[in-house]
Subunit: 218 residues, 8 copies
């Protein structure tokens, strides 16, 4: 019996394709999954693929992948053709939050969405956020990536009417190590309507944004 | 200087009105806020209003409120006129989750949305969920309220394409006391696109749903 | 041997008088301490004195106390004469944070400081904070009281050059219950120079502010 | 005095043989234990034996061991002869859960049981589970291995009458890192009769299954 | 639509009947469920029914219930007729663990099993346990209820070959408050094959024991 | 079968008599235990006996008990005759720590030891401790009771050569609520040789001190 | 769009310059930030710069940096000219606390302050602290760095009148691993007026001290 | 000013010499401390000295040290001459607990005590403990080292009258990872008089035992 059983119907059923979470898998398991996808000529998104795991894949597979080390994502089969869907916006509090933010942007692109990204607008200097206020208010759905104390979630959600998906990141140390403080700040935000996904889960944040955009198109 | 300073422009700015979180306030503070709202002829939603707090309000104020003990919500000024907006659906895993689920439904109604509620469809008996599959798939946004281990979030999100807002409840005991297990199950769901709000935060879940419905209408 | 041994020299040695933390003490113990202070004609500050504890004190003692239920503080012997020292400012994020904020203000007053208090300036409506920006920037030391996600600490500290003492409060529910999220937000603030005291410790926040004001006067 | 004192009578007394937990032991300690077992011509199961530990053993010992890196188990002395006992079934939610699931299967085999394993039937795609429903209902005892939010425990236990042993795995990240969410989901399952073992404890899950099968044979 | 939707087929499907967890329900909700059961002439088990909740039920319902305050259980419709199934044994470490232990015993009886209970055999005096060794070794499945440090789980499991279901109780204070230490001791027991249920979950422990006994009878 | 089975030989076997932990027991259970002790003319120590529990005992039993509400202890049968053993000393950091400190002192007295108690010597005013340095250095074993941050454990252990038993108390609020900070301070003390017992466990601290004193007498 | 957007006005606005937290950044990101600073001829402070990150920077950049491995800090552009401001004092409990203590001292120096440092004055030997009492009492603001149980915070704060900034360090193991015990000891200190910053946050402690010194100079 | 300031009078003042905790120190710092000790011809105990740290010391220093990798201890200057003091006994639950157990034994030897060690007597096979009962009952003070669930603490303390020092070890995985379960089992033991030290703190356990033995000799 096989070690895996991909849910190829998931995109049709739920609007978002199954992605391969690579972190807990061996290179052999990842290669086997890529092999099945290639045999079906299917497009596939890989997340949390460490550089060491990528390097351990057979060269022939590596050459088929569009791999980005910062976001630890790889795409097999390229982006969808056709005009991208506009409306989503990704905001990163600091330079250090760019990994998960890029994972979200790459997931949006994989599903045919534009994925503009605004970086380094943390609340310790509110003027940086104010410069971007126009773009923030134009978006139909926002993904906000922040670590440390995550104050950006509340500040953004108090300024816009679009849904805000909080993407807490594991950036921080001491009590903030691992991202729990940012996550809890999102969940207990004084600005109503903030929704949270798991720490560093850029894929999940994008999946939620895609579903929201789809709800708007039905 | 006053003890409070309501943000009357919040609905215009963010799409959701400021609600009064009553739990940490004294009856005198609640009465003063209600007085200001009445003076402005403004509608107002009160959340986490315990029966004891309600009973301690002046009779004249109590008579103006539509109070529901199960959800601990009160509405001043009635529901909006006009045809309600359709598309949101509230699902409660068990009878014990009805408090937060009703808080969400009441918040939806306060903002002019329909708020149908399906109760007692926990995963220990999947046939109950299957009976409701048609209604689940018709919804444009779902709020799923569950305590204990919160398995319902993943099961529902694996079946529908609409966005799923997980509303973890504090129902449970032992390791599940306080609702953290349900919250963490929502955040680490194997079904992509689940978004979570704070434990028992029916108001926040509804606020998010309203923003998603608005995004769909723009 | 006596059950207590007050440190009457503490104010001379450290700049802040010993206060009586009443919560874990019996009414008999509190009464005995008040009796010794009265016998010395000493002024005394009592903190975390619940209404039930106050009511259980002998009437003669109650009549000598200036008791404020909201902050659970009582003062024996009145405020110091002379012109109060100016420079400290207390800011409360919401109405619900007024208890600890008032404990700080009362402690400042007990030690001869002015204690102005700005209430209800949470970040979900930044305009409220902006209206107070002038007063915030004039202060020589700020105590900021906030519960929930505590985003106010970072926002204020990013706007002023005076030291900011974060006073996290236990206002909140779900993951924010007990105040730990607000505390951790203060500690991991992206705005440098925020200092934190224990949750609901208005006395400690004021003690720190008094020491900072004294350092400025030496 | 010796560093170890193996409990050779344990299988007779409790039905399950003592296994050697290798993780916290030095290679020299492991080699000494294997030496004593070989001297007694005893069969022995080693668990949590890392590849590095295995490689550090003397070659003569390595050649006597049947070592499987994925499950980190090694068997000295082969499997028991005779017809294996049928009835146990191991289910793994995802490919990433195969390590602990295989540890359980190897432990069953060491004790003379068949150990069929069904992989990749997570609840985000319930159709995969439904395809296996017949096999699930035939089993006399089930070990279900799952990480992340562990929703599979409740879903399986709601479908079968045999005892379900939940084997939470450490697969996950963010709040699910380390496996505590899966463990807590098992413990607070809304489906009655789920029993849990420690995170990644495939040996313990199998030991429990063996005892249950024995109880059925007495 | 109704607030509840009982899973009357659960016993046929899984071997254990659905029980009504009363703690998070209002008396009105409990009464409505009892009413439906009575209308079907169905037997019903209620768990975690506080004395105050019981007292708030209509007298007519109370008179139909067999209520035991110590275990907070009530039975509607009496025990099953016919010869009880023998083999299960409940062991309680101390007098204080009798509440959950009795909940387990009552659940066993409701499902037609004998439910002998041995009390006060904690490991601080091993002679008490040794006196009962014969009865312990005769049982086909054991439920061991213990709070505090839960050392009894390991000691019993090291002495018998039958499966041991650890029922951690919330008895304890300081670090042991709430029962987490006992639960964790069960999960990390050095004696293989111990399985754990949630803290104070006597119902779940009994449900597991019933499934194990059934597995033995198939 | 009886609900309890007292270990009357424990004092002979381990040097400390079994005490009855009353908190999790019903008044009927406590009364039954007292009845058995009275029938044997045995002395008995009751701990964590709340005033409400004491008041619910039959009057005849109450009259035989020496009950102290502050320490929640009761003694049946009086103190031992003969000259008390000298050497133990109990130190309490603050007035609020007197409950557990008195529980320790009463347990010492029950077992025939003197139990002097020094109160209110917290480290915020080291002069209070210095005044008692002679008595501290004369003791053969010290029990130090402290809540809050528990700095007293390290300071005392750095000054004396006798063994120091840290008795953390649950006095505190915010992060110190429940006593875990004091406990952890004791365990990670920079002064070697500090030993800790559970939070508020005055009985256990005294039991350890008694065993240490006995070791010195053998 | 750029990955970073430095807040060059922060020193003017808040009194403390933005520093670059290097730990979560790639060498390429750090090099780009240094490049922008060099282009502006701006001075810059880098914190949490691991030796491996430093070694991965281009040689030309490395040669411009004053790098100190123990504190993991680097300074671009040297210290400010002019007479340093006197008054701050850094105290380290043990040799192992020198890393964060030096980060604080280097940050003070970067901003034009003297930064004397007293090392190894832990409370297990109070005589070491007493030898330094004069210097402690002369300081206008103190930063106290301590790990383990952090008793030094309370002892120092009980002896001086200047503000005390507690800098908990991650030195410790067992329950003290990571520094949470030291942090919690600071927050729950029985000596009033202790303020805490995050674990190992020497930069933040110094930023707070600088603001306090500035408040004294206005 | 020096980075360190050893407390050479500690043994005279408290009965136990200061040891050098090497884990958080650099090799240069360790070498400097050893240099000062050698210059004084002082004996010195080093704890938590990793093999890598030892290897990084200058060869001349390494040759003066008696280093044992398993316990990570090194002794400078050899053991004391004269007849060792008898009475202490170290017990280790399993082979994996030998590291901390040996640290305790080496610390005892450094201070002139015998340090017999009994290994591998975990409670899953009580017969192993019973074989050693005579030796256990002869000891005047016992150090019991155990990880996992730590049931051995309660079982031993129920069998002997001497004081029992629980030394929890970090052996374990899942919920038991890091040793907190064993620590909490010790603290909440149902056997009175168990005292605990920090996880893996073999030095502290021995320091406590030495103080107890000294108390017995005064």
């Amino acid at each position: 019996m096989s070690d895996f059983n991909l849910d190829w119907q998931r995109e049709a059923r739920t609007g978002v394709a199954e992605a391969v979470l690579c972190e807990p898998k061996t290179p052999a398991q990842i290669a086997a999954i890529l092999g099945e996808a290639a045999a079906r000529s299917a497009r596939l998104l890989l997340t949390r693929l460490a550089l060491e795991q990528y390097d351990a894949l057979p060269r022939a597979l590596r050459e088929q992948l569009d791999f980005e080390p910062l976001s630890r994502t790889a795409i097999l089969g390229g982006l969808p053709s056709g005009k991208p869907i506009e409306g989503a916006l990704v905001v990163a509090a600091g330079t250090a939050d760019l990994g998960p933010a890029r994972e979200a942007a790459r997931t949006l692109a994989f599903h045919g969405h534009t994925a503009p990204l605004i970086a380094d607008v943390g609340v310790a200097g509110l003027w940086r956020l104010n410069e971007q206020l126009g773009r923030l208010r134009e978006a139909r759905v926002l993904i906000v990536a922040a670590g440390m104390e995550g104050a950006l979630f509340s500040v953004v959600a108090g300024l816009v009417s679009a849904p805000v998906i909080a993407l807490p990141t594991s950036v921080g140390y001491g009590v903030a190590a691992g991202g729990v403080v940012a996550l809890h700040s999102a969940l207990s935000s004084c600005a109503p309507g903030v929704m949270a996904v798991n720490i560093d889960n850029g894929f999940g944040a994008a999946a939620a944004a895609i579903k929201i955009m789809e709800a708007a198109r039905r």
